[in-house]
């Protein structure tokens, strides 16, 4: 009985949430990191410019 009660307690419906993936039209979220070759260190620093963010890996 105790086990069943615990199992039921876990089956709680999650509240509906919005998909937090950035779409065209959204504001670009900030990000933290180490910046190389740059005076700027955040998207806020380059506000007013057009910014191309390229996601890459060395491979």
């Amino acid at each position: 009985m105790k086990l069943l009660a615990s199992a039921l307690a876990l089956g709680v419906l999650a509240a509906p949430a919005r998909d937090p993936v950035v779409q065209v039209g959204d504001f670009a979220p900030g990000f933290e990191g180490d910046w190389y070759l740059s005076k700027a260190s955040s998207l806020e620093d380059v506000r007013g410019r057009v910014v191309l963010i390229d996601f890459w890996r060395t491979w």
Partner: protein, 232 residues
């Protein structure tokens, strides 16, 4: 943007002779937030900080970039080492001070083509920003018009232009026709800030509340656009 070890990135920068800024991130959070599923992926952000394009970098066209640059509030530095002080002001977007420096320079050498070019570029930017503010005003988009005048004021500090922009901003703030739109706009800015922080839940709540309270505003249209991009 990469999340690989520093040594790997630094080696890559040297090997490829990279000269543009690189941000080294931790983990996968930013990839997830930007919906990056494969590499390379690219995102184009406009002058207001909004994502206007998202795809494989090879698919980016010059037309897309040029259209975005039309809206930028930036003047490219001269790149001439004899004009280092001016370039610093341009990079910092201190156009009021830049204009003063240019005026001083032209008083000494009236035929300086570099200074004349920079002056024309700044004038061109101001004209584009003023046109945007006017277009917004004509469309009843008081929030955008106000924000544009305030931006002109900030960028042209120290120049007469700043005073004119401040007066134009005040006129909008006092206009009774703008009252509803400006109240909605204030809420919109707060919601936008949450989005920039990456808190889409809170942003969604704020957009929904403003769309409900001020349904006939331009701000509500922007709020609804977000809500349809990110439904519950």
């Amino acid at each position: 943007m990469s999340n690989e070890p520093s040594s790997l990135i630094e080696g890559h920068i040297e090997k490829m002779g990279i000269a543009f800024p690189i941000a080294k991130l931790k983990g996968e959070t930013t990839d997830r937030i930007y919906g990056v599923k494969s590499f390379p992926s690219a995102v184009l952000v406009d002058a207001a900080g909004r994502v206007i394009w998202k795809d494989h970098p090879a698919r980016l066209t010059s037309t897309t970039i040029e259209e975005a640059l039309e809206q930028a509030s930036f003047v490219a530095p001269t790149g001439n080492e004899d004009y280092e002080a001016l370039d610093e002001l341009l990079a910092a977007r201190e156009f009021g001070k830049a204009r003063a420096a240019i005026a001083k320079g032209l008083a000494k050498a009236g035929d300086d083509e570099v200074l004349k070019g920079a002056s024309a570029a700044i004038d061109g930017l101001l004209e584009r920003m003023r046109a945007r503010a006017q277009a917004a005003l004509d469309a009843g988009d008081y929030g955008t018009a106000l924000a544009t005048h305030l931006e002109i004021e900030t960028l042209f500090q120290g120049d007469a232009t700043a005073k004119e922009a401040k007066a134009a901003a005040k006129a909008i703030e006092k206009d009774p026709a703008a009252k509803e739109e400006l109240k909605a706009w204030e809420k919109l800015v707060k919601a936008d800030e949450k989005q920039i922080e990456g808190d889409f839940e809170k942003a969604g709540k704020l957009y929904a509340s403003l769309a409900k309270k001020y349904p006939d505003t331009k701000a509500a249209v922007r709020a609804q656009a977000f809500l349809s991009r990110h439904p519950l």
